[in-house]
C-alpha cells in the first residue's frame, strides 16, 4: 500500500489511463447491464411473481460482488497502479465534431463511490424485502430500485460529462418514481414533482456548463478535458473567467442534486417516499452525486478559486442552515433529511476549501451511518405502524433493542464521537479547512458539529428513551423488525464503527489519502497545496479536541433534556426554553419559511405570470388574428352595400364606365 507513487505527471491530468482489459470491460459492462435487465424483467414479469424481489435483489447482490471485486482490485490490490481504465461500449452521439461515446471509466474515486453505492444499495435491497413485504405494488418498488442502481452506477462509471448528465437525469427519474411510489397520496405526487423540478433548475446550469466545456475545450471526455485544459489555459485559449463560469454552472447542477441552499427544498419533501428509498437515494447515494461531480471535476475547479470559495460558502451555510431546522422538526425522517442536508454542506465546504479527499471520506462514512440511521428510522416507523411523528414515540428501546443499539451507534457516529466513522471524516473536513486558511469555515463547522450532536440525541431521546407517547392502540403491537431488516442494520452499524478507523488511520497518512491521491493530485498541484506534516500534539490534536468537546457538549445537553437510558426527559424545560425564543423556534419549525416563499414566488406569482401569458395568447395574438378576420368580414359587409343586387344600378355603372372609356379614347385619339 505504502508504495503508491505520488509523482504522477502533472500534465497528464489524471494519472495514466489505460484501455480496460477484456475481463474488466466485461465486469464494468455487467455492472450496468445486470440492473437494467433486472429492471426490465421485473417490470415485465413482476406483477405475476409471488415474490417480486426474486429478480431484483439477487441481481444487485451480484452487482455488489462485482463492484467490490473491482474496487478491492483497484484500491488494495493496486491493479491499475493508481491510474484509470477506460472502455468504449459504443459511440452514442456522433454529430460531427460533437462526438460522445458511451464510455466507462474507472479510477480510485470511482472505486470508492462504487463501494459506497453498491454496498448500501445491496443492503437496502435486502432490507426492502422485509419493509415492503405487505405492499401490493412492491414489484414496482423493486423495479424502480434496480433502475436507480443502474442510473447511479452509470453516474459513477461514466467517462464523460454528457454521460454523467444522462445518468444524472436518470437518477432523477428513479428518484421521481420512488418518491411518488405511493402515488395515490397527493403529498407524494406533489413531492416527486417538486424534487424533479428543483433538480431541473440545477440541471440548467449543469447542461450549460457541459455546453461551455465543449465549446471552449472541444471535448467532453474527462481524460481529454483534463489533459487539454492546462495547455489551453497556459496558451491563453481559455480565459480564467470562463473557467469560473464553467465551474459555477457545474456547481449549479451539483447544488440541485445535492440539495444545497437554496435548492434544498426538495429533499425534506422527498421523505414522502418509502423509507428504504430515503436511505438509499436521499441520504447515501444520489444526493452525493453533486459532491462526486465537483470532486470529479477537481482539475477544473482547481483553476477557478473564486468558484471554490462560493462552493465552500454555500456548503457551510447549508450546513448550519439545515442543522438549525433539524432542531425542531417532529417528523423523524425530516430530522434525518435536514441532517443529510447539513452533512452534505460539510462535504461541499470541504470541496470548497480544497480538501477533496476529506469530502469523499465524509461522503463515504456519511453514506454508511446516514443509511443506517434512515433504515433504523424505517424500522421504528414500521414498528409503530407507519407513524413518523416523534411526539407519538418514546421508550421504544426495550421493544426494539436491535434497532435501538444500531441507531445509537449511528447517532454517535454522526455526532463525531471517536472512534466511530463520523469522527474521522468530520475531523478531517474541519481540520483541513482550518489548516488551509478557511478559519471561518472551521468555526461554523464546529458550531454545526455541536448542533448535530444535539439534534441527533434529541431524536434518540424522543424515540427510544423517556416516556412512551405511542398510540395506546398500537402500543401492544410494537415489535422488533424481521431479520431481513435488522441484519442490514447490524452490518451498517459494524461498518459505522470500523470504516472510519480503517479509512482514516493512521492520522495524517490515512488509507483513503493513499487511495485518492492519484485522483486529486493534479488539482492540488494546480492549487499549490502541499501536505504539511501532521501534528497530533500540535494544531491537529487541538482541533480534534475541540471537535470532540463540542460534540460531547451537544450530546450531553440533549441527554439532559430528552433522556438517555436512566436519565429522564424534561420536556417542560424544553417547552420553557422554546417559549423564551418564539421567533427562532417558529422560524426553525417552519423551515425559515422557504416553502412559503417558493409557493409565493413560483406557484402564486409564477402562476399569475403564466395566466397572463395565456391571456396574452388568447386575447392579443389570437385576438389579432380573429380581429383581422372580423375586420375583413366587416369590410366585406360594407363593400357589399354597394352591390344592391339591382340590375339597373349595375347597368348604370356600365354606362358610366363606357362614358369614361369613350372620353379617354376621344381625348387621346384627338390629341
Amino acid at each position: 500500500m505504502g508504495g503508491m507513487s505520488f509523482a504522477a505527471d502533472p500534465h497528464a491530468g489524471i494519472a495514466a489511463v489505460t484501455q480496460a482489459g477484456s475481463t474488466e470491460q466485461l465486469l464494468l459492462t455487467l455492472l450496468l447491464v445486470l440492473p437494467i435487465v433486472g429492471f426490465t424483467l421485473t417490470v415485465v414479469l413482476g406483477r405475476r411473481l409471488s415474490r417480486p424481489w426474486i429478480i431484483a435483489v439477487p441481481t444487485i447482490i451480484v452487482v455488489w460482488a462485482i463492484a467490490t471485486y473491482l474496487s478491492v482490485q483497484a484500491l488494495i490490490g493496486d491493479a491499475f497502479h493508481g491510474g484509470a481504465i477506460q472502455t468504449t461500449i459504443y459511440e452514442w452521439i456522433p454529430a460531427g465534431a460533437f462526438s460522445v461515446s458511451f464510455d466507462l471509466f474507472f479510477d480510485n474515486l470511482t472505486a470508492v463511490m462504487l463501494l459506497v453505492v453498491t454496498t448500501i444499495g445491496m443492503l437496502v435491497h435486502v432490507y426492502s424485502i422485509g419493509y415492503m413485504a405487505h405492499d401490493p405494488g412492491k414489484w414496482r418498488f423493486f423495479a424502480y430500485l434496480n433502475l436507480f442502481m443502474f442510473s447511479m452506477l452509470l453516474l459513477v462509471l461514466a467517462a464523460n460529462f454528457l454521460l454523467v448528465f444522462a445518468a444524472w437525469e436518470l437518477v432523477g427519474l428513479s428518484s421521481y418514481l420512488l418518491i411518488g411510489f405511493w402515488y395515490h397520496k397527493r403529498s407524494a405526487a406533489l413531492a416527486n414533482k417538486k424534487a424533479f423540478l428543483v433538480n431541473r433548475v440545477g440541471d440548467i446550469g449543469f447542461a450549460l456548463g457541459i455546453m461551455a466545456i465543449w465549446t471552449t475545450i472541444g471535448t467532453l471526455d474527462f481524460v481529454q478535458v483534463f489533459d487539454l485544459l492546462p495547455a489551453q489555459l497556459a496558451g491563453g485559449h481559455i480565459e480564467q473567467w470562463m473557467m469560473v463560469g464553467i465551474c459555477l454552472l457545474l456547481f449549479c447542477g451539483a447544488m440541485g442534486k445535492s440539495a444545497q441552499f437554496p435548492l434544498h427544498v426538495w429533499l425534506p419533501d422527498a421523505m414522502e417516499g418509502p423509507t428504504p428509498v430515503s436511505a438509499l437515494i436521499h441520504a447515501a447515494t444520489m444526493v452525493n452525486a453533486g459532491v462526486y461531480l465537483v470532486a470529479r471535476s477537481s482539475p477544473l475547479f482547481a483553476t477557478a478559486p473564486e468558484a471554490l470559495i462560493l462552493v465552500a460558502a454555500v456548503g457551510i451555510f447549508t450546513a448550519i442552515f439545515a442543522a438549525s431546522i433539524a432542531f425542531t422538526q417532529k417528523d423523524i425522517k425530516r430530522v434525518l433529511a435536514y441532517s443529510t442536508l447539513s452533512q452534505l454542506g460539510y462535504m461541499f465546504a470541504a470541496l470548497g476549501v480544497g480538501a477533496w479527499t476529506a469530502a469523499i471520506f465524509h461522503l463515504a462514512t456519511h453514506g454508511i451511518f446516514k443509511g443506517l440511521l434512515f433504515l433504523g428510522s424505517g424500522s421504528v416507523i414500521h414498528g409503530v405502524h407507519e407513524e413518523q411523528d416523534m411526539d407519538k414515540m418514546g421508550a421504544l428501546r426495550r421493544k426494539m433493542p436491535i434497532t435501538h443499539w444500531t441507531m445509537l451507534i449511528g447517532s454517535l457516529a454522526i455526532a463525531g464521537i471517536p472512534p466511530l466513522a463520523g469522527f474521522f471524516s468530520k475531523d478531517e473536513v474541519l481540520g483541513e479547512a482550518f489548516k488551509l486558511g478557511f478559519q471561518w469555515v472551521w468555526l461554523i463547522g464546529v458550531v454545526v458539529a455541536l448542533m448535530t450532536a444535539f439534534y441527533m440525541f434529541r431524536l434518540m431521546g424522543k424515540t427510544f428513551y423517556g416516556e412512551s407517547h405511542v398510540d395506546p392502540h398500537v402500543e401492544p403491537h410494537v415489535h422488533e423488525s424481521p431479520p431481513t431488516m435488522t441484519v442490514p442494520l447490524i452490518i451498517l452499524a459494524v461498518l459505522s464503527v470500523v470504516a472510519g478507523a480503517y479509512l482514516g488511520l493512521p492520522l495524517g497518512d490515512s488509507t483513503i489519502h493513499h487511495w485518492l491521491a492519484p485522483v486529486f493530485h493534479p488539482a492540488l498541484e494546480t492549487m499549490g497545496v502541499h501536505a504539511e506534516p501532521y501534528q497530533l500534539f500540535g494544531i491537529d490534536g487541538a482541533l480534534i479536541l475541540v471537535s470532540v468537546a463540542v460534540a460531547t457538549i451537544g450530546m450531553v445537553a440533549a441527554w439532559r433534556m430528552f433522556g438517555f437510558f436512566r436519565i429522564h426527559d424534561r420536556l417542560d424545560t424544553v417547552r420553557a426554553l422554546t417559549a423564551r425564543v418564539p421567533t427562532l423556534y417558529q422560524g426553525s419549525f417552519h423551515k425559515w419559511y422557504f416553502d412559503e416563499l417558493n409557493d409565493l414566488l413560483f406557484v402564486r406569482i409564477g402562476g399569475r405570470v403564466a395566466d397572463a401569458f395565456a391571456w396574452f395568447d388568447v386575447h392579443i395574438i389570437d385576438g389579432a388574428v380573429n380581429g383581422v378576420a372580423t375586420l375583413t368580414r366587416r369590410a366585406g359587409d360594407e363593400v357589399r352595400q354597394s352591390q344592391t343586387g339591382r340590375v339597373q344600378n349595375y347597368a348604370l355603372g356600365i354606362a358610366g364606365g363606357l362614358i369614361l372609356i369613350a372620353v379617354i379614347l376621344l381625348l387621346v385619339g384627338t390629341r
Partner: protein, 211 residues
C-alpha cells in the same frame, strides 16, 4: 302623274322629306316608348318606331332588311311583348313607379352617351363612304348569306331553336299548380286577377312603395 323633282315650297328632295318624316316618327315614338307611363301604349309606340325604321331601311335601298324588320319586329317581337304586357298586367302608374330613382342619372348618361356617339360620328370623316347608297338586290344578299356566311346562318338557326326551347321551358307553368301558391293562382283565372288600384302592380303581398 309625275311628282315634281323637289318638294313644293320647300325645295327639298323627296327622299329628304321622307327621311325626315320617318326619322322624326321613329325618334318621337321611341321617346314615347321610354317615357310613356302606360306600358301598353309604350308597346304600341314601339311598333310605330320599328315600322318607321323599316321605312328607313327601304329608303336606303336595303329592301330585304326592311322586309325582315317588318316580319320580325312588327310581326313577331312586338306581338310577343304585347302578350307579355298583358300577362304581367302592367298598367300605367305614377312617375316614381314607372321610373327608377336613378332616372336623372340615367338621362344624363344617355345624353352623354348620345353626345359622345354623335361627336365621334361627326369627327370621323368616313373616307371610304360613298355618296349614295349602293343598290343591292335580294339575290346578292342571299348569295352572301348562303355562301360566305352559311356557317353563321346555321349557328343562328341552332340558337333560335335553343331560344324557343328555353323560352318554353322558362315560361312553362308547373305541372301541378299549387292552389295555395298565389303566384300560380294569379294566372289561373280571372277571379283572382288583380285589377285593383293603379300602382299596385305586384299585388297586396308586396308594398309597391319601395324607395
Amino acid at each position: 302623274m309625275e311628282l315634281p323633282q323637289t318638294v313644293p315650297f320647300l325645295d327639298w328632295r323627296w327622299d329628304d322629306l321622307i327621311f325626315l318624316v320617318l326619322a322624326g316618327t321613329m325618334l318621337g315614338s321611341a321617346l314615347l316608348v321610354v317615357v310613356g307611363r302606360d306600358i301598353i301604349r309604350s308597346g304600341l309606340f314601339m311598333v310605330l318606331a320599328f315600322g318607321a325604321l323599316a321605312g328607313l331601311y327601304a329608303l336606303m335601298g336595303a329592301t330585304l332588311v326592311a322586309a325582315a324588320q317588318v316580319l320580325v319586329y312588327l310581326g313577331a317581337i312586338s306581338v310577343l311583348i304585347l302578350f307579355a304586357i298583358m300577362l304581367t298586367q302592367s298598367k300605367a302608374g305614377p312617375v316614381r313607379l314607372v321610373f327608377h330613382s336613378q332616372a336623372w342619372a340615367a338621362a344624363i348618361a344617355a345624353i352623354v352617351i348620345g353626345g359622345l356617339l354623335i361627336a365621334s360620328v361627326l369627327l370621323t370623316s368616313w373616307p371610304l363612304a360613298a355618296a349614295e347608297p349602293i343598290v343591292q338586290t335580294a339575290r346578292d344578299v342571299a348569295a352572301l348569306m348562303f355562301g360566305d356566311y352559311v356557317l353563321a346562318f346555321e349557328v343562328i338557326s341552332v340558337l333560335l331553336l335553343a331560344a324557343v326551347v328555353g323560352g318554353i321551358f322558362l315560361a312553362r307553368r308547373d305541372d301541378i299548380p299549387d292552389p295555395s301558391d298565389p303566384a300560380t293562382r294569379i294566372e289561373d283565372g280571372s277571379a283572382s286577377r288583380v285589377t285593383g288600384t293603379p300602382g299596385v302592380l305586384g299585388g297586396p303581398a308586396r308594398p309597391a312603395e319601395k324607395p
